[in-house]
Amino acid sequence: MSTDNERERDEEAARLPDRMGEERLAAPIKRTGMFGTGTSGDTSGFGLLQVRGSAPVSSQRPFTDPDDPRTADFDRVADDLEAALGDSAGAVERVEVSHGEITFHVLREALPELARVLRDDPALRYELCLGVTGVHFPDREGRELHAVYQFRSITHNSEIRVTTTCPDTDRHIPSIVAVYPTNDWHEREAWDFFGIVFDGHPALTRIQMPDDWHGHPQRKDYPLGGIPVEYRGATVPPPDQRRSYT
């Protein structure tokens, strides 16, 4: 048995740089060139440089790094969560450990069940939900909108993040207000700013913008909306239209 495992691991290791490269290339191109505009006669040699976005990181067990005390309970949390979820443990797509934080990427259908387990399971007991926020990645096809939840357990003094996604064409994510009432306003804010519809929310209305506002201002396809500032004949364009270095 153990030899099988070892062989598998060796094979895996042998393919590793290869696969890493694949992942890297699969990542979307974020920007090209290094400085200046693309239209200028840039002869520096950096004009063809392609900078890729972050590839989806998928961490493998063990999640706990003995050298990093911040990660001390990550293995325990992952085990407990898997045990508590039972059959629906497959809803956790991948786990990401970075910067001493653990992130569970889950399918959106499983979110209410996951929230209930996180709050009620004695081994988990995440009493506090620190709200949800949206992030808009226009170039991640099929998963443009992310909803990021932060949970804190006072009992176990532990902190995790749960991320779920939805495509821009079907902006629905189940609400967890029934489990964590504190998410009421946070979900309204995410709807207001990103247009994510939280199904099951008791009153999903705009919260920050006026009720008759068009669009969801913090999406990437919504302009910043500044105006050029004129002073004594000179004009300064708004921040999003200025020359930038990236």
């Binding site: 913008m209 302009p223 910043l224 500044g226 105006i227 004594r232 708004p238």
Partner: protein
Amino acid sequence: MGLEEKLPSGVLLGTVEQVVGLARKSSMWPATFGLACCAIEMMAVGGPHYDLARFGMEKFGATPRQADLMVVAGRVSQKMAPVLRQIYDQMPEPKWVIAMGVCASSGGMFNNYAIVQGVDHIVPVDIYLPGCPPRPEMFLDAVLKLHDKVQNTKLGAHREQEITETEERMLRRSLPLVSKD
């Protein structure tokens, strides 16, 4: 040793404009319109350290119906703009407006979708007070400048003439332009 002892037979001569101006400036009743950071500095001005009461303005009322000065202290969001205009409309004439801080004056660093780029898009402004937020001393200075303006405001036909003259002067005035090339 008061003013009255220096007056010959207790009679003081002056123009109606000056008397009205004196009355108006001596007891201004500001309507607080605290919005953001500047509101805290405005409250500090009302406190004992800076003491706005020295200028007869300690009655910081919240009711616009009994106020003649509106201090717009802070950034005005698109959602707040109609509310602000409504409050301004509720104030009786004559009324003045101080745009306190750079956000109220021009939008400041928040040049974006949410903030009105200067409260003068909504209400006429008498004094623009720069700073982010302005120091309480700067606010006091703005108040004194406004008092000066109120004291020297003309009435009736003179006022109309003054407005025309000011407008002509402003049109004639040319600020040095920053060259475009």
